[in-house]
């Protein structure tokens, strides 16, 4: 476990002097790893053995070992954090922030993924006679993207951003069909309605949305994208990426479950794209590319 978290957690159990040591270290852990036990003791106004005892209390072999673990905690600790873009940011700064926020969002989504729901979702998709994708606004393009991916298989796939078309399609869903509803907030009325209609047709409704949202309650299976609320400053960015990667996971599961036969067909579809593009100068044609 992370040493810094541990220090925060055990703070209550520390003695007065130990708390002083912890405070100095936590104030600037990066600097602390370059201090000797004597310097640190002086900064905390305690004796050297107190610092040593403090290290032992945190299950380290001694001060040098403690510094080593602290250094590792710092290096590992929260690799990517969500950082807000500021008006004053340089191009390099806000670019980095956006990349890191996105990576942080993916990391969180990965950690909180409900494997059970994921398996159910892949099962349902694998056996579905028909699959349709719904979403509005930014989620519409996620739905569109999902359709593109599933088009490579021979299961009929539907997507439209037209409300009437959507309602018509979903009304005709049959048992076993999968209706995928995508929404970051899970509070888009039109989409909840679609999900509701789908439920009545006995189709399997799969939500890629916020847990415990109105939409989630309409769904049979929910894959939640637990992206922190404040991730998207001006518009949904990281949350949408998380949705897309979830779709990637779904289609990978679908492909794996379809077995080698289907994967051969997939390769054929890709090879059919060859003529539409320039050949590579330096390397053999790669049939896995597709744009």
């Amino acid at each position: 476990m992370n040493l810094i978290d541990k220090m925060h957690r055990d703070m209550a159990q520390f003695s007065k002097s130990e708390r002083k040591v912890a405070a100095v270290i936590l104030h600037d852990p990066k600097a602390a790893i370059h201090k000797s036990i004597a310097v640190l003791a002086k900064l905390a106004n305690v004796s050297e053995p107190t610092v040593n005892r403090f290290c032992r209390r945190l299950d380290t072999k001694g001060y040098p070992d403690f510094k080593l673990l602290l250094a590792q905690s710092l290096a590992k600790g929260t690799p990517f954090v969500n950082r807000h873009v500021e008006q004053s940011d340089s191009t390099a700064e806000f670019a980095s922030k956006i990349f890191e926020s996105t990576m942080a969002a993916l990391n969180i989504t990965r950690k909180h993924i409900d494997l059970n729901a994921l398996e159910q979702a892949i099962d349902a998709l694998s056996q579905a006679p028909k699959i349709s994708f719904f979403g509005f606004g930014a989620s519409a393009s996620v739905a569109h993207d999902a359709q593109n991916k599933f088009l490579r298989f021979d299961t009929p796939v539907f997507f439209s951003d037209d409300l009437l078309m959507q309602r018509m399609t979903v009304t005709n869903a049959r048992k076993g069909d999968v209706v995928v509803c995508i929404s970051h907030t899970g509070r888009t009325k039109a989409l909840c309605e679609i999900a509701g209609i789908a439920r009545q047709t006995q189709a399997t409704v799969l939500g890629i949305t916020a847990a415990d949202s109105p939409l989630a309650r309409e769904c049979n299976i929910v894959l939640s994208t637990q992206v922190p609320e404040d991730t998207d400053v001006y518009m949904p960015m990281a949350s949408r990426i998380a949705q897309l990667v979830l779709i990637d996971v779904l289609i990978t599961g679908y492909t794996l479950r379809s077995g080698p036969d289907f994967r051969d067909r997939l390769r054929l579809v890709k090879e059919s794209l060859r003529d539409s593009r320039f050949s590579r100068e330096d390397a053999p044609q790669n049939p896995t590319d597709s744009d």
Copy 2:
């Protein structure tokens, strides 16, 4: 820079004894960080000062400092790597692999981003009387997504997946207009053609594509997505995510450059979406959501 990589890189310049030290450390770096200088010296069959000198050669303050940096290198080391999905993977396994590969791709793209090109791109977009997005296949949905984002501003934006529409639009481009061409491979013939036409109209052609590709050569500004070739096993996944995040960076830059006035307008657009969704039970309405 990573100490371990550094050791590998500088191996040739090391002296005989230094190489012995390096070998022992590299053989099991994790164990090395818990050894004293005496133990390490004995293992490498060299004297203690030789180990010390070795540390200094790697620009560390001494042996303890070296161990600290080594520990950090180990903790940090390749946080996310591209790992292939195998037929035998469990759901948890391939899900993790996809998430990590995507994060790895983003990490690489972030590192290799050409800040100069990025600034030029944002400048061009900020001043463009008209912006259009082009892409085929998987990149079409990226282009579509880009259009969605830019629609929130009052600059005219165009996107279509119809080849004729695209050609018509691009033919009418004026100087200052920005034509954004998106392709993972950069070898899609139709897109290169579009880019070529755009160039003749004196519009600024911005490519989000592979460096040194046929498409890249047609562009005025290139933002390259340096995703390893083998990232996308069955279909473009990580590369497309990288493109999307690049779009996010572009629009953020665009928004920042537009100043506070435009950002107010953006908020108004978002607030206009309120009625279309359910209110939050537990928290105030968040005007930044939009799907």
